[in-house]
């Protein structure tokens, strides 16, 4: 199946119009020795029936977390996705559309993204948001680079070691050219000692990056760090799980200048880690250095309200090597899903869902501690994710319980396990899981 709506006769007519005998002649510029002789070893194509058969067989070789009782989180979460979202996302006007560079025929995408941006501003407590980035990790990297640009002369960023290891790795990759220097403050027992961060801050530091919560699920209040970095005229970057922002204070109200993170928990499936979306918000003072696409409101020649991509002079197609970032695209469809999710849950729903997840997390946490087989990693307040130290070999417990249909969170090392409990987990499931843990011995 090649999806080409041109038959042999029409092809002939086109060849005649162009004035060639065969299509070969059109590739005259390709050096002969580079011309492929014959077809590539890709096998035969397939019609839909064979395709479906082959690919569903591949899908059946997987045992998805959504079909098990899963407590896996670590940056990718199994939240309930309201049914209406996919019904809207399959509308071809949304998913087959291009980037809205011709706004007259793209108001659907533009207004939906504007509404998404509004939601992100509300959750984070900041005035400006962009149209999304690839993921939480690259959004964090972009935030670091942005802070360095804003500082004009500084090139250092202090980073909490309790952030997601893959985010830290990504930051390390992006700073390999030493354009930005990072100081990672080591985590101890799943938190980054506040005093260690404070003592790393001086007048050479453009920004500090902390989690909210951190990778281990713990909330390390950022206010003191905010005060210290601001006193040195630097910026606070907070990496936050947006699902909790209806329940916990907006980082913007705690001193954050830039708030980023992974917004997959809002209406997007896990999908083996991607595509999700990196959300990005900042204070209005920082606007012109914010990377990524931005949708703005305006009017048309008749005075009607409309929306356009704006502040384009930050971007690569105009600034080229002086651009705020090389990023060209955004994760529009995922941002649409996030915006739809926020519309579906509303402020009360978001709070109640988070409350549900947090309550169930506590229920599991306390039950696991009560088995006598676990200890807390630290005493910090957590949301719906927490780390425990298993008094045994964590991987052995994990593997045993996996055979019984449970994903026991994520094993972080010999003994530390990271558990996430979303609103999807029922009391029965949690009780059954705990029984299995006890049975494991």
């Amino acid at each position: 199946m090649n999806y080409i709506p041109i038959n042999f006769q029409q092809k002939k007519e086109m060849l005649d119009a162009v004035g060639v005998e065969n299509i070969e002649e059109l590739f005259v510029d390709v050096p002969k020795q580079a011309r492929l002789k014959g077809l590539l070893p890709l096998g035969d194509g397939a019609g839909e029936m064979e395709l479906v058969s082959k690919i569903t067989a591949l899908a059946k070789k997987n045992t998805p977390a959504t079909e098990l009782v899963s407590f896996a989180g670590a940056g990718c979460y199994d939240h309930y996705i309201p049914s209406f979202i996919d019904h809207l996302l399959v509308r071809p006007e949304f998913f087959t559309a291009y980037t809205p560079y011709q706004p007259e025929v793209s108001q659907g995408t533009l207004q939906a993204v504007y509404e998404y941006q509004t939601g992100i501003c509300q959750l984070t407590g900041l005035d400006m948001a962009n149209a999304s980035m690839y993921d939480g990790a690259t959004a964090m990297v972009e935030a670091a680079f942005m802070a360095v640009r804003l500082s004009r002369k500084r090139d250092k960023v202090v980073v909490a070691g309790s952030l997601h290891p893959e985010y830290l790795e990504t930051l390390k990759t992006y700073t390999h050219a030493d354009t930005v220097k990072t100081t990672v403050v080591d985590a101890v027992d799943g938190v980054t000692p506040k005093d260690d961060i404070l003592s790393a801050i001086d007048d050479t530091v453009a920004a500090v990056i902390v989690g909210y919560p951190n990778f281990y699920g713990a909330y390390e209040p950022p206010e003191e760090i905010a005060d210290e970095i601001h006193a040195h005229k630097g910026l606070l970057i907070v990496v936050a799980n947006p699902f909790m922002l209806g329940l916990v204070e907006a980082p913007g109200n705690l001193g954050a200048d830039i708030v980023v993170g992974e917004a997959q928990p809002l209406g997007n499936p896990m999908s083996f880690g991607g595509p999700g979306l990196g959300y990005f918000a900042c204070t209005s003072a920082c606007t012109r250095q914010m990377p990524g696409r931005i949708v703005g409101k305006t009017t048309d020649v008749d005075g009607h309200t409309g929306y356009v991509l704006t502040l384009s002079t930050r971007e690569q197609h105009i600034r080229r090597e002086k651009a705020t970032s090389n990023i060209c695209s955004n994760h529009a469809l995922n941002a649409l899903a996030a915006g739809m999710y926020l519309a579906g849950v509303g402020p009360t729903g978001l709070k109640k869902l988070a409350l549900s997840a947090v309550s169930k997390a506590r229920y599991l946490h306390d039950a696991l501690i009560a088995t006598g087989r676990f200890e807390p990693l630290n005493e910090y307040v957590y949301g719906y994710e927490f780390a425990l130290v298993y008094k045994g070999v964590a991987q052995a417990l994990y593997d045993d319980l996996f055979e019984r249909g449970y994903i026991s969170g994520v094993v972080l090392d010999e003994q530390v396990m990271l558990f996430a409990v979303t609103e999807k987990r029922s009391r029965e499931e949690i009780d059954a899981f705990v029984s299995e843990v006890e049975a494991h011995g």
Binding site: R288, S312, T313, I318, R319
Partner: protein, 126 residues
């Protein structure tokens, strides 16, 4: 094309009005017309010093960015704050309210290198 005779011009489309040892600087009619609607101006802070030919800022339209070059060396003693809220002033009145910065002239002899109105006009027509 409006080209007031009371000031000098640089080849980079800036104009300079000299009063004592101070120079007020802006961009010409030709420049603002080529830019199109100005949406933002990035100006330096008071106290910054620049040499002749240095980039002292940027002016942006919707789809382009242009650097602003110092027509003379000097220290910035004033910037036009009104341009932050109304960058379109540069389009509406580039020779008056659209002024950008005022500097204390460091080297009077540089003024001789600037163009008179006719010479500037001739340079554009090339």
């Amino acid at each position: 094309m409006d080209m007031p005779k009371d000031r000098k011009y640089s080849i980079d489309h800036e104009w300079v009005v000299v009063e004592g040892d101070e120079a007020t600087i802006g961009i010409t009619e030709y420049a603002q017309d080529a830019l199109g609607e100005v949406v933002y101006v990035d100006l330096p802070d008071e106290g910054e010093t620049f040499a002749v030919g240095d980039t002292f800022g940027e002016v942006e339209s919707v789809k382009s960015v242009s650097e602003l070059f110092m027509p003379v060396s000097g220290e910035v003693i004033a910037i036009n704050d009104s341009l932050a809220d109304a960058p379109e002033t540069i389009n509406d009145d580039c020779y008056g309210d659209g002024w950008m910065i005022r500097v204390r002239i460091e080297n009077e002899s540089e003024l001789a290198d600037l163009l008179e109105a006719e010479a500037y006009l001739a340079s554009i027509d090339e």
